[in-house]
C-alpha cells in the first residue's frame, strides 16, 4: 500500500534519518514515540506538507515525493482538529468536495452516511466554537472521509480530548477502521490507545525507527531499553547470564530454554502485571520469591505494589480486590512469582 524507503528529512535542529516502513492495505499502523521524536513531522512529510530531503514514498507503487499536497488524495486529522472557524459543520465537511471529481449524488450519499455514522445530525448548522472536543473530532473525521481518501493520517487524535470523550473516540476510530476498510496511520504517544486500535506499528526516537512490527510483538518483546520503557515494561535490570538463568545482583531468575537470551543482551524486564501474588504458594511459578511490601499505591482501578526481596525490588500491578481479599499492608511479607515466559531480555 504505502512504502517509505530510505526517507530523510532535515530541518534546522532536527533530522529524520533513513526511515524504512511498509504499511499494508487496511493496516491501522501507529507511529509511537515521545514528544519531539519526529513522528508528527514524518506524518506531515507523508502528507506532503514538508518536503522529504531524500528517499522514496510509494503509494500503491506510485512515487509521491514530487506530488503536491492537494493532489495526493490523503487525508489528515490534526490533534486540535483544525476546523475552519468561519464555516459551519456542513460547510466544513464539504469543504474539499469541489476539488475532487465526485458526483453530487455520491457526495449526498457519503454526507448522509457520515452524518448518521458519526452522529452529527443535530449539529450540522453549528460553528466549531459551539462544538465539544468529541464533536469537533467527528466533524474533522467526516471532512476527511467524505473525500474517500486512499490513506487517513491521524495526528494524536485522542490526546486533546477529555477523558469522557477519549473512550468514545477510541471506539469510533475502531469502528471507522473496521466498517470503512480504510488504511490508517496514527501518531500517538499513548501505548494503551495504540494497543487497542492498531495491528502494526513502529517506535520512533530522535528521528529513527527503533522497532517495527505487530503491536503485540512490540508490546511483549521490546528490542531495546528505550522501547521497553516506552511500552510500560518494568523491573528492568542489567543482567549476567549463566546457563538457563540470569543473575541480577545475586538473584537467580530461571528462563525457559526457548527464551535463552543471545550474547548481545544486556537487560531483562518483566511486565508488572505478570508478577502475581502467591499467598498460599498454590500457583506453580517457575520463579518464586518472598518479599516485603514496600509501598502500595491504590489508583482506584488497580494497585501498584513495590516488593523488596533480599537483593532486588520488583514492581507489580495487582487487582484492587487483593487489598481486601489478602489484607495487604505495608511491611507485610508475601510470596509472589512469575513464569519464565514473562521474562523478556533485550
Amino acid at each position: 500500500m504505502i512504502d517509505l524507503n530510505h526517507i530523510h528529512l532535515t530541518l534546522p535542529g532536527f533530522t529524520i534519518k533513513d526511515i524504512n516502513l511498509h504499511i499494508k492495505k487496511n493496516d491501522f499502523f501507529s507511529l509511537i514515540g515521545p514528544t519531539g521524536s519526529g513522528k508528527s513531522l514524518l506524518l506531515e512529510g507523508i502528507m506532503g506538507l514538508i518536503p522529504f530531503s531524500d528517499g522514496q514514498l510509494l503509494l500503491e507503487g506510485r512515487d509521491l515525493i514530487h506530488c503536491p499536497v492537494e493532489k495526493r488524495n490523503l487525508a489528515i486529522v490534526y490533534q486540535d482538529f483544525a476546523l475552519f472557524p468561519h464555516l459551519d459543520v456542513t460547510q466544513n465537511i464539504t469543504y474539499g468536495v469541489p476539488y475532487h471529481n465526485i458526483s453530487k449524488k455520491e457526495v449526498q450519499n457519503r454526507f448522509d452516511f457520515l452524518i448518521s455514522t458519526l452522529g452529527l445530525k443535530k449539529i450540522i448548522k453549528r460553528t466549531p466554537k459551539n462544538l465539544s472536543g468529541g464533536e469537533k473530532q467527528r466533524v474533522a473525521l467526516a471532512r476527511s472521509l467524505i473525500l474517500n481518501p486512499r490513506l487517513l493520517l491521524l495526528d494524536e487524535p485522542l490526546s486533546a480530548l477529555d477523558p469522557i470523550f477519549h473512550e468514545e473516540a477510541k471506539q469510533l476510530l475502531k469502528k471507522i477502521h473496521t466498517e470503512l476498510d480504510i488504511t490508517i496511520i496514527m501518531v500517538s504517544h499513548n501505548f494503551t490507545d495504540v494497543i487497542y486500535l492498531s495491528n502494526r506499528g513502529a517506535i520512533i526516537k530522535d528521528g529513527c525507527i527503533m522497532q517495527e512490527g505487530s503491536i503485540m510483538s512490540i508490546f511483549e518483546k521490546p528490542n531495546s531499553l528505550f522501547s521497553a520503557h516506552f511500552v510500560g515494561m518494568k523491573n528492568i535490570h542489567p543482567i549476567h547470564q549463566a546457563n538457563n538463568q540470569i543473575i541480577i545482583d545475586g538473584t537467580h531468575i530461571k528462563l525457559t530454554p526457548a527464551s535463552k537470551p543471545g550474547k548481545d543482551v544486556d537487560f531483562m524486564g518483566i511486565r508488572p502485571e505478570d508478577i502475581s501474588l502467591n499467598t498460599f504458594q498454590s500457583k506453580n511459578f517457575t520463579n518464586c520469591f518472598k518479599g516485603k511490601i514496600q509501598t502500595i499505591f491504590n489508583n482506584g482501578i488497580f494497585l501498584n505494589v513495590v516488593l523488596q526481596t533480599e537483593d532486588i525490588c520488583f514492581e507489580a500491578i495487582w487487582p484492587r480486590s487483593h487489598l481486601r481479599d489478602h489484607a495487604l499492608e505495608i511491611n507485610q511479607i508475601v510470596n509472589f512469582g512469575f513464569h519464565s515466559q514473562s521474562v523478556h531480555t533485550f
Partner: protein
Amino acid sequence: MKRGEPISWLFMFLSLPLILLLTLPLIKMTIEPSMTMMVETISDMDVVNAISRSIGLSLFAGFLSFAMGTPLAYLLARNNIIGKKVIEGIIDLPIMIPHPVVGIAILSLSGKNHPIGRFLSDVGIQIMGTKTGIICVLLFVGLPFYVNTVKAGFESVPLQLENASRTLGAGAITTFLRVTFPLTWRHMILGVIMCTARAISEFGAIVIVAYHPMTAPVMIYERFTAYGLKYSQPIAVWLIIISFLLFIILRMLTKSINLHTR
C-alpha cells in the same frame, strides 16, 4: 486588578495627566470657534476641496496599501525569508524618520537627475506638485501601519488551518481566498483605517512634495501663518469632525459585517 482596589485608583490617578494632555487641547480647539465662523469656513469651496482631497487621497492610499501591502504582510507572516528582520525594519522606517526627510527622499528619486525620475517623466508621471506625489507620500507614511496590522492578523491564523485546506485538495490561492482572507479581512479593514488615519494627518512630507494641490493640513498651516490661529482653527475642527465621523462609520461597518458573517 479589580475596580475599587487601591492600585486601580493609583493607576487611574497616574493616567489622568496623559488623558488630559490628549483631550484638553482638542476640546479647547473644538469649542473655541463660533458657529458663524464654522459655517463660514465650510461654505468656502477651497476648504471643502482641501478637506475632501485630504480624505479622498488618504482613502486611496489606504486602498493601495491593501492591494500592495497584503502580499507583503503575508510573506512576512508566513515565510522565514532571508533578511526578514531587515525588511521589517525598513517597513517601520517611515514611523521613525522625520517626515520632511521622506518628502526630500521622494523628491530626490523622482527628480530629473535620477533615472527613475526620468523614466517616470517619460511615461508622463509627475510627482512634484501633483496628486500622484501626494498619494506616493501618503502610501509611504501609512504603509507600516497597514503591513504591521495585517501581518499580526495573518500570524493569528493557525498555519494548520491552511495546511488542512491544502490536504483537502485546495490550492494555495484558493486556500488564501477561502480560509486566510475570511479570517483576516477585519485586520485588513483595520489596517486600511490605520493607514488612512495616518495619511489624513500627514503634513511634513506633503508640504515638500506637493504644496499644491492643497490638502487640509497644508491649508491649516497656510491659514495659520498668513492669518493666525483664529482662521486656521475652524478648518482643523472640520477636519477632525469629518474624519471622526468617517472612522466611526468604517468601524460600525466592520462590526456590522462581523455580526452578519458569524
